[in-house]
Symmetry: C2
């Protein structure tokens, strides 16, 4: 194991002297807030939390940690689902709370320059006010930060048409472990100039450097949206319909899947009294967008024709923003609903889109063998299925701790067989580390560790994550 220095009160005093009392907090509330994210019930208190207000301050504190051998873990809104911000070795959490400015929206070049603490939805709204669009939008968009989105290469419901975070990053400003500040990439739409440090940093979960600024690509905001809710008598039929829509030449702007149990969780959480008819075993939420309402109507009809081949029992149209919000509310609340109702483990499996029915069947099959119940939903258009394994009363604590990880390993092995992988958008973080070897050979894991060492020789940046050597 890595051996770090404790953040003693003397050292805290040193930081207060250098940066002032607003910079560092270690009261019980702050420590509690930064001890956990939205991942299961993990809890790792840091010794203190720092709140820098500039790149310069980030550079100084990171350098200080490097010189004093104190772990430093960047954190945004702590909404992650893989435990990426958990300060598992204690030390300092670097909060981006006060690095929260949209520095510029360049309407001439369709670009936004932002600090990492900007909340995703705030950027979306600022862009929309100018007729522009920043598509990546995790379910937690109302609270999650751009910094966290970059760290985990976040997706969201619109990734299916518009791509993930990676596809919107032009350049980054980052602070390296030794305090060096570098700018990667350029503010251009194409770049063949040197190794892409930008792309290496995206998805590196704060283990290589601390992102202090990002220049992001924006696109024109589509003018119209139309949403269809399609109900199916079998979950597998809904999954099969997904590929058929794309093969009809239509690329929906969102294509979400919920199995019945997920809908039930959502309804209970939202206290909706509507009865879900027995024949509804799964739903697809299908959103299409564009600039021409007539075309959307035409495409909606085409989609309807495709769905008929898969025994769709009911199609509901939502063509106003409020009706659409209503429809997506159930889908968006699911993470919180499952978390609020029960103890669970969430997996972020992803496979080629057409393999989704096979993945879903396998999850249920493995569930039968290991005796677990699962609630599945996710971004079906991307082949990204969130598998929530529920700790039902039938499962003993021993089963939960010893048998369920074996079941998860089997699920992951199957995603790899299908040419998929472990995580589509949540990251490896803390919780998926034991399964890394399912996806990667020793050669690749060795490369990861060597890349880590290049950027952060003392291992102070977010240690204990991504399966990287911690000693």
């Amino acid at each position: 194991m890595l051996s770090f220095t404790s953040l003693t009160s003397n050292l805290i005093e040193e930081l207060i002297q250098q940066f002032g009392p607003e910079f560092i907090k270690y009261d019980a509330d702050t420590i509690e807030k930064y001890s956990h994210d939205w991942t299961e019930d993990f809890h790792f208190p840091p010794a203190a939390v720092v709140f820098p207000t500039s790149t310069q301050e980030v550079s100084q504190i990171v350098k200080w940690c490097n010189e004093n051998n104190i772990p430093i873990t960047p954190a945004g809104a702590c909404t992650g689902l893989s435990g990426g911000m958990l300060p598992v070795f204690g030390g300092i959490v670097l909060s981006t709370l006060r690095l929260n400015k949209i520095l510029e929206i360049d309407k001439r070049n369709l670009q936004a320059r932002v600090q990492p603490g900007v909340i995703n939805e705030e950027l979306q709204q600022a862009a929309a006010a100018l007729g522009l669009y920043y598509p990546p939008d995790p379910s937690s968009k109302g609270s999650c930060t751009i910094g966290g989105n970059l760290a985990h290469n976040a997706g969201g419901i619109h990734a299916v048409k518009y791509g993930v975070t990676r596809e919107y990053v032009l350049s980054l400003e980052v602070v390296m472990a030794n305090g060096n500040i570098i700018r990667t990439g350029a503010n251009v739409l194409k770049n063949s100039t040197g190794y892409s440090l930008t792309h290496l940093l995206i998805g590196s979960e704060g283990t290589l450097a601390v992102i202090t600024e990002a220049t992001l690509k924006l696109i024109p905001l589509p003018k119209y949206r139309l949403v269809l809710v399609a109900s199916f008598p079998q979950a597998a039929l809904a999954c099969e319909a997904v590929s058929a829509i794309f093969n009809a030449g239509i690329t929906p702007s969102a294509l979400e899947f919920m199995e019945r149990d997920a809908i039930v969780f959502g309804y209970q959480f939202l206290k909706l009294s509507d009865k879900i008819p027995d024949e509804v075993q799964a739903q697809l939420l299908i959103e299409i967008d564009g600039n021409y309402p007539d075309i959307l109507q035409q495409e909606a009809q085409q989609i309807g024709e495709v769905l008929e081949k898969f025994q769709v029992s009911d199609i509901l149209f939502a063509d106003t923003p409020s009706a659409q919000n209503e429809v997506f509310k159930v889908r968006r609340c699911l993470g919180e609903a499952v978390k609020g109702t029960t103890i669970y483990k969430e997996e972020d499996t992803v496979v080629p889109r057409a393999e989704l029915p096979r993945l879903l069947n396998k999850v249920k099959e493995i569930g039968k063998i290991y005796g677990f119940t699962s609630v599945c939903y996710g971004h079906a258009g991307d082949g990204n299925l969130h598998v929530n394994i529920i700790k039902t009363p039938e499962l003993s604590q021993e089963q939960w701790e010893i048998e369920i990880p074996k079941a998860i390993r089997e699920i992951f092995q199957f995603t790899i067989e299908l040419k998929g992988t472990l995580s589509g958008e949540h990251g490896i973080g803390f919780v998926q580390q034991p399964y890394l070897e399912v996806a990667f050979s020793g050669v690749e894991i060795n490369l990861f560790n060597n890349i880590k060492k290049l950027w952060d020789p003392n291992g102070i940046l977010n240690p204990g994550k991504m399966g990287l050597i911690s000693g």
Copy 2:
């Protein structure tokens, strides 16, 4: 300088023994063919060229080179414009000529699995036959290979709407310097599982590993295309019109710029007898695509209205494939036309789209100071301007060798000031190495060198490129 072992006739004999006579060639024609690409008039003969037919053979030959300290430089069709495949240290060129199979087109998942020697246009045609589309298409699409496209993160005329090569790569199979074979990524549309080795390898110009297979994303083929050719009385007005089109909410599928001198070169090369009216000082080729012809007509009209504000003198519509090919023929031939007519240096400058008029003006201004003539054209929608500096009779050889590089440095410095960079799609390769420090600090160049060392400790993979330490 790196010191390599010569490929003696004994060593060649050893390779023939191991792989058979078809595997290795060193006759004069083969050596000549692999001594140069399309970059200026550089000429570096390799000692021999190998033609592996499998990943296993690539692994064996790379391992052999690593053990024997012999440089090995991968090459596709040798159409590069930065000298990326020039075997500047001699040794072995690894040709992908016989690794040229489209292994699979997966219509269910919209994916293609290809070997690196597949010609870009062959993949496009195979996809189109199934109603699918692989958008990246450099001007050399009829001859360039997917491997070369991956090595340089190639763009092409459709990148403006559909993105560059990077955005179509799901996973790679590569051979490392020590012969290890790894698969990076997964065949999925979103991936947050470990550092992205895939994205680090894209654009690494064969200096980190040899790509032996790629799984690429395909999309539905748009059904209709419409092309407008707009003529302007001033080049700067054409450049200004580019941003205005995007700001009107339209994303053309191609948006190409040619200044008058470029059009003249193209006409001469194609032996077209049409007279170019005096008032045509620049043209934009604007392509829009989609599934609905009525919408395209409507958007074409909108574009026409935008262009009127920029003193457009003439707009020609090309709505049949043959008329469109005719129009793009001039643009596509320009690289060859300039090369075939004169001695020149080509720069691949890229800036944020709206800065294009400033870049063009600056190039002309620097030209006046240093006394050079330039022919400019390129992917204006991406802010990617190809600047061809012509060796007119007025320039002495001394000016060409000593003063012009200073002028190029000034052009690059200006692209950096505009938040652009050195190369949009051609790469650093051999010719842009002296300018790397204009774009990067010592910290970044140091990172590049350390990354290189991780993958290729002996420096045998395409040495003498990308400004990496060669000794």
